[in-house]
Symmetry: D2
Subunit: 361 residues, 4 copies
Amino acid sequence: MAGNTFGEVFKITTCGESHGGAIAVIVDGCPANLMLKESDIQHELDRRKPGQSHITTPRDEKDTIHILSGVFNNHTTGTPILLIAYNTDAKPQDYEHLKNVYRPSHADFTYQMKYGIRDYRGSARASARETLVRVASGAIAKKYLKEHLGVEIISHVESIGNIKTNIDIKDLSIDEVESDIVRCGDKETSMQMVNLIKHMQNTGNSVGGVIRCVIRGVPVGLGEPVFDKLHADLGKAMLSINAVKGFEIGSGFMGTTMDGVHHNDELYVDKNTQKVATKTNHSGGVVGGISNGEDIYFRVAFKPVSTIGTLQQTIDINNQDVTIECNGRHDACVLPRAVPIVDAMSAIVIMDHHLRHKIYQ
Amino acid sequence: MAGNTFGEVFKITTCGESHGGAIAVIVDGCPANLMLKESDIQHELDRRKPGQSHITTPRDEKDTIHILSGVFNNHTTGTPILLIAYNTDAKPQDYEHLKNVYRPSHADFTYQMKYGIRDYRGSARASARETLVRVASGAIAKKYLKEHLGVEIISHVESIGNIKTNIDIKDLSIDEVESDIVRCGDKETSMQMVNLIKHMQNTGNSVGGVIRCVIRGVPVGLGEPVFDKLHADLGKAMLSINAVKGFEIGSGFMGTTMDGVHHNDELYVDKNTQKVATKTNHSGGVVGGISNGEDIYFRVAFKPVSTIGTLQQTIDINNQDVTIECNGRHDACVLPRAVPIVDAMSAIVIMDHHLRHKIYQ
Amino acid sequence: MAGNTFGEVFKITTCGESHGGAIAVIVDGCPANLMLKESDIQHELDRRKPGQSHITTPRDEKDTIHILSGVFNNHTTGTPILLIAYNTDAKPQDYEHLKNVYRPSHADFTYQMKYGIRDYRGSARASARETLVRVASGAIAKKYLKEHLGVEIISHVESIGNIKTNIDIKDLSIDEVESDIVRCGDKETSMQMVNLIKHMQNTGNSVGGVIRCVIRGVPVGLGEPVFDKLHADLGKAMLSINAVKGFEIGSGFMGTTMDGVHHNDELYVDKNTQKVATKTNHSGGVVGGISNGEDIYFRVAFKPVSTIGTLQQTIDINNQDVTIECNGRHDACVLPRAVPIVDAMSAIVIMDHHLRHKIYQ
Amino acid sequence: MAGNTFGEVFKITTCGESHGGAIAVIVDGCPANLMLKESDIQHELDRRKPGQSHITTPRDEKDTIHILSGVFNNHTTGTPILLIAYNTDAKPQDYEHLKNVYRPSHADFTYQMKYGIRDYRGSARASARETLVRVASGAIAKKYLKEHLGVEIISHVESIGNIKTNIDIKDLSIDEVESDIVRCGDKETSMQMVNLIKHMQNTGNSVGGVIRCVIRGVPVGLGEPVFDKLHADLGKAMLSINAVKGFEIGSGFMGTTMDGVHHNDELYVDKNTQKVATKTNHSGGVVGGISNGEDIYFRVAFKPVSTIGTLQQTIDINNQDVTIECNGRHDACVLPRAVPIVDAMSAIVIMDHHLRHKIYQ
């Protein structure tokens, strides 16, 4: 009800504020006998952590993950897994100036109205720090999917502001993404993106962009046909990430300009694999809400972050006009660090639907 | 788990196949003492029903709704409401030719793989006929929201194929939409849309488009801040509608090209109403997952429908190559009839979050 | 939230009032490819229906069940199944005298307080008529469990008032139960029970009793170890039946007087079957919340029904003292007709946990 | 699905093994602005903790609770609350002898069969140590209910083995219970109970008993009328506690021997309070699944604990016959320490239904 749980079978319940004691998650419904060590998770967290390069926030959190339950002798036991990362570099005093003011386009105002109280330290629960444990949970799902089904999930930054790569996600490898601090995977475009981000950093401004994701190797049959369509759950997962304003699968908005004759993906049997395949993939790997075995690919739109170092008009908690200039430690562009978050939420959705589908087998 | 339920408090569970006995829904969680008659619901169904104009499918279903429980003396009693529409113009024989073949980009193949069995009559559960009871349930939510909160929901067709209106949804009235058979609301553009749809009908082809929706009068505070963000639930609701491939709220994908300075919506107090407002509304009425009192507006992308009267390559259930040309009674463009579906799903999401929010009050 | 849904995977959502249009249920999550005809369900309903013998209510409902979705060519398709029974012998005028009065120990008062409105015709939603569709849903579960797992569920009336049988449920057959109008299965005791029930009928009084249930053939491993223990879900299922005030599994309340040395069920390997078994079965087939392969058996306590033909003191809706004597068509003892309800709810719980357990396999 | 979550609105998700890193819970859905300090919770935990008297297990856990999220400046913020107690006195080496053997009537066998893996240290997740965070969560619910609704919850030990008190729970005070190490509240009977427990300790045996609970001051209207009846949820809550085998509300099993004329609770208006009341309370405060404003009272049956220091026959993981004598640190009788667990689960159910009922208001 209060919306801190995601998933039906592979179910994560998260908690924690940016400057409270810890960020944590209980992962319930993970199958038993998966080999799991903290280092399996830490690897993914390091991709998300602050301070990883000169284009991300300088906040210096180690984001060290601890497994406190559900794992015995390095194997999951089928019982709930508690993952926790203690907050060590919290500087609540940096946020005293936000105590009485609502930042524009920020959750300050809506939280205050909803709850009648607000933890004003560093965005608290509305901080992107909450996504830390999404990534941690996703690491478990990703490991399981890879080992059991051979599923591969790759996200990358397609555009930042108006700078956009034209590379085909079909051929993109995880190494290409990870060797690039922007996580675009196209070196030339990436350089332009870095310059844009630095410009935004220097001018107290921010910028958004688009992340694309491809999921390869998903078996046919995942997804429920009516409300819990596979892409509806992927869409919800993405839209639940901070700063996301849009989601499209397959042909998406562009597909609305095509006609049916050209949009339809004709079926055939692949001579080599003897598997049913489609000649085109405008559907993005999901038909009627159910995976059809083709690559699942989609786009996620991130708006520019709202906390910026430029003077803005706003109001305080007494509804008086004030100006504000934010000086906390924030990213001018979240996309490079958001790539593992998109990966993680994708993994969680696919994992959940994989387990849901077991009921039919 | 099987995904035929939507909502947490105002919860709908739907059932029914296109050519089975009936399409029905149990609406659970509707507050008691709402005045409710069948005619309140029928009105919305008539906006969705087939055969309403020369640009929609000629299937002749009356779509008469019956209330079989939960209402006493024309008032809801707090118990679950059963709404049912019997299928009267079912022509299953029209679909015998689909028994052994998978239509391209259609749920035939994925259903067969998922369940090992498939009701091949008229798309069965994958038929858009399933949305009939979404509209019926939405009619209840809409009535409640209007009477109790003054909420107004208006959707319209913004584009079909490459034909797009430039009217501002901010000023759009329900009458402008309903007086137009395309439900665009812009007479000039609408004529072009009609021509395009007829062209598609005549050539055995189909076309997609974009529906925009605005929700006015939503109180501040609806939505849960982490996974069940208001726009994440709206996104899921829309993506669960047949043929939808994309969703964006507020500035959406366009917003990814803006910088933070221009994207941020500055807060002020409206001198007349003394209410907190924002100067711009790039957020689309939702900040941090919670409504901020501004208009909620979003776009929904519909691909062209897959069942077309053009010869296509595909395979049969024995994986043999075959060609197919569909001759059932289908829309060449679903958008005019999809407008009330977008309305309905919006109403259900807002209603559900309104009731969820009561817990905090 | 409003509590009209039961189960997590095999999920039933019920609706309908005693004197409204119909009693119905949507059964979601039933696996595909189960052979299913209306007659499979009708058989169980006939065991529950009113007017089946001279010791039950004379209300003459045929309780004819209709399958309106989810079944194609006599097989389930994996889509939700709508089961509906129209109310045909409703006599709402019989209940006008209850419009303004609260019957003692009846839901009249609590419904009115909860909802501010009340359908006063024949107890409406609080009527035991609501259990009709529990039995119908349970018939599907029972059929599946029998065919796929060989599970057998037998309930019988152990006691009515102070009259109690001493037969061992371990040896009881369904034929013994069904050949007895009281559904006790012990002919001698049964005759005394019939006399007691008739005495209650004749004196405008009512009487309660205990139903025992045994479930044979449940595989090892069903049930979730913490909150959704198998017996906790069985307990909830039983306590949700009208008039039930108690539940005990295995040794139950009697077991509280035993010591651990005698209560513990020692494990051994059965020489014939090579299966792990226990020498005693004080646990009632569930250990740590999980089935251990032994017979599951439990008891359910039914209070005497509250609607009686004897003059009682009570108040009306204006809080004024009044007397009331009820003359609707009611059972003096619900137990014979409650046996199939206990069966059905047992089947639903076991079916649900069977499907839940598939996730681990 | 995996059953580690309880509640719909006030929702707890627990994790942790007896000898793992910690026992923890995320409490989601707690209203904002409740004053809350760790000491508010610690007080209830101390009632449950081991080593509190000479009749409980000597395991020396401080059970210190930490609040790591959801509370700001000693007030809840509406975000999820993480409560954690680190395991400090874990002695896993005490359990090496259990690695390859299944204790009779213990979850060893069923866990191994369900998951194919088992953490054999001190019963792990099946340990009553899991209830620590039930008590912690219940402390929050209890505080809220007391402050906002004036609800009072008192449980006590009614019987241990065959020793039973006759005191009336109606008049029982929390002080009487807490001043008695058995938590019976009847000094004379309590002394006999202590002797019985000590005898069991000395002879390597164990004993069960019955806990009664009364909940005073519950407003009219809580509970949902069909599956989520208030007493059905109370029953499930109790049956989910380790070692519980039975539950009865109001007249319970005894009520099955009464007739309707005497069992019915006649309604009247209390002259002093002007509130509707009942002359008797055989219903136990719940009618039609909904609270009627009278005291809610029920009984919970605890079997003798299965881990005993007496030689027993059993089998090992290779299905070979072995004998076992358990020498871990266990209670010979769990009832004195189970009283706060019954309190806590009661509080969680009432709190959850209080919040659920807000939707109707």
